[in-house]
Subunit: 207 residues, 2 copies
């Protein structure tokens, strides 16, 4: 049972490696699962014993990158940052780890992270979103926001974050300064939102 288990893990990571190569060279949509399986030395159908869909296969890489990004962030966090700085560090840490996947990220993130209701849900994407939002809420809690923000704030956060991902995945400016400006404004806006929430106009009774 040990040898087989090991062989399975080898297959799994060979699929992931080859898929990353092929996705990077041809893009997500122009890569076929047949090609990936063949490159990994397996029959066409075998790939689906390891990943339930092409989308999940790609999202697995994204998910692992984001997990590493969160670890980087925890390591790099000194505790002296203000709220906006810490959120920026968090987001930037994720992007750094996503960097190698950038050439094929567009269609994958669009399908898997978008908040539009879908029939076929990719579990990896759901999980990634929830973990990201949980991390954000943990940061907020550490900065004195006792209770979690309402759905309005978190929905808007996720919209802005997706916008950042979309823009960044296409950003050709030298050091992604364009993306940095977008991240900066987005975060400042979110901080402003949750700071002044409900004191403006009287419409803060969101369930």
């Amino acid at each position: 049972m040990r040898i087989s288990e090991q062989a399975k893990q080898e297959n799994r990571s060979r699929i992931l490696d080859k898929a990353a190569e092929i996705f990077n060279s041809k893009g997500f949509e122009d890569s076929t699962t047949r090609d990936i399986a063949l490159a990994a030395g397996l029959a066409a159908g075998t790939i689906f014993n390891y990943f339930p869909s092409k989308e999940t296969l790609a999202m697995t890489m994204v998910s692992e990158a984001l997990v590493q990004g969160r670890e980087d962030y925890l390591r790099r966090c000194t505790g002296g940052e203000d709220l906006a700085e810490e959120l920026f560090l968090f987001v930037a840490s994720g992007l750094r780890r996503l960097r190698p996947l950038r050439p094929f990220l567009g269609p994958v993130l669009e399908r898997s992270l978008s908040p539009f209701p879908r029939k076929t849900v990719c579990q990896e994407g759901e999980t990634a979103r929830q973990e990201h939002l949980a991390a954000v809420q943990a940061i907020l809690a550490r900065h004195g926001f006792a209770e979690a923000p309402d759905y309005v704030a978190m929905t808007m956060y996720w919209s802005l974050y997706l916008g950042i991902l979309a823009f960044w995945s296409n950003d050709t400016s030298p050091n992604q300064e364009a993306s940095q400006a977008l991240i900066d404004y987005s975060i400042r806006m979110f901080v402003h939102l949750i700071s002044g929430s409900g004191a403006d106009k009287g419409e803060a009774d969101a369930s």
Copy 2:
């Protein structure tokens, strides 16, 4: 030549009608172009003489709804609204016209309006986005914003707007109060952004 032209228009609108029916009853992804063509009394391939893709077919309906929404907005606009009120009216007018398409909007808008870079672009979606953003800029201009906001502001606007569409297309609260709150906050946030732009921290040199 006149009779044929008329027949073509009839075919086109029969396709659109049947497609709307089928999309509404089975959702976008579970509806097949074969079914739609058959329901319209045409062969499977003929549908692609009228619309280059299933996505474009659906986006044509969306696009027409949004055009009507803009006309409604112009009609309903008194000129006495402040900036936020007028933006709210604009967005709400679009949603009203999208209402009949709501059951199948999710996958369509996700594919066609998302800012993630894609290989196969749906022209209808591009156009819809540009026209929407142009209308927003016209509203801003009418309220004293002489020059168009930079890419950061418009990118954030589009992110928030997509978030609104996504949330609304799934909103089951009695009169979409949940969506209304989201629209309200999103617009106030955008107005705040372009009002105070660049005066905060010294990072406003976005190209």
